[in-house]
């Protein structure tokens, strides 16, 4: 298993609550290569592995950023439940879509977003409410959407288009 390494292996990292550190160390289990179902979208396995590695790195960078912001008292610590939920919600696409931008939200949340191939997709995960999704397709192949997406059906539609376009 590839270990998740945070550059906040330092004082920043040690300042985080134990629950967050436990969560980080547990994250790789969600992203083992064999955990991605074998959806055939015409991509070769090596490329999928590369995408998955970059996907994992994107979450690591988001956590690094969160760690620095928590140290600066600029952010609430990441909530493991929310981050795990987010990871679980989008991980099936990890091998098939471009690398997302993962940024921490206040109140422990996380935003996972893509801006590529004409598609702008942002998914805001926060506790207490379904994810908020913003979708804009420059190519107008599917409708713009802004709102709560309880089952992420709008987000998954956008992600499937993104996978098709990036394939």
């Amino acid at each position: 298993m590839n270990a998740i390494v945070t550059s906040a292996g330092s004082s920043e990292y040690r300042m985080w609550p134990a629950s967050v550190r436990t969560f980080i160390s547990a994250m790789p289990q969600c992203l083992q290569d064999d955990s991605v179902p074998g959806i055939s979208l015409g991509q070769t396995a090596p490329r999928r592995w590369q995408n998955i590695a970059k996907f994992r790195e994107a979450f690591n960078l988001g956590l690094d950023c969160a760690g620095a912001m928590v140290s600066d008292d600029a952010l609430d610590p990441p909530d493991p439940k929310i981050w795990n939920y987010a990871l679980d919600a989008v991980r099936n696409f990890a091998g098939f879509v471009p690398t997302p931008l993962v940024t921490p939200l206040q109140l422990g949340g996380v935003s996972v977003e893509w801006h590529a191939y004409g598609i702008d997709l942002e998914i805001w995960f926060r506790s207490g409410a379904p994810p908020f999704v913003l979708i804009d397709d420059v190519r107008d192949a599917f409708p713009t959407f802004q709102g709560r997406d309880s089952h992420l059906s709008h987000a998954y539609t956008a992600l499937k288009h993104l996978a098709d376009r990036s394939g």
């Binding site: 960078l61 950023c65 600066d72 977003e113 801006h115 913003l134 802004q146």
Partner: protein
Amino acid sequence: MPPSNIDIPGQRITDPAEIVIRRHRRDKRQPIVYDQRTRCYRLPTTAFEPRLPENRPNATRHDKYLSVNIASSLRTSGLPSDWGCDHAHFLAGKVSVEAVQAANLTVTWEPIESGDPTNPHHGAINGVVELYYRDQDEYVTVLSSLARASTVLPECLPEN
């Protein structure tokens, strides 16, 4: 130096052509959002989130407003737009007051005159925190509109 025609802290800045500068913490290895409609690099939506007091009983700081710098104030003082922005850890983006007003928010001049550091160019985008507690869906939509109206300062782009 305050912006032109503004001389009282807290006074509203109404000139739609005025520009405010917002900083955003990032890891340098993270990509910068490229807006596919405007074909410009912009700040992510999360850059416009204030530090909310909710769930932070032990926090020493939370925000009443979004902190920005006032571009004309920087310019009048001979300072660059990215003044105070450590490019190793931050992005800075500009947004017009017109875009802020379009989101039903206001901009005021809020110089920081005491403490360390002081910042006479400091301004505020008001109404975001209140919006979060009034309508969380509208809150995200408004932050998104600010992000889409933003442009990353050229000084912050990798080629510079």
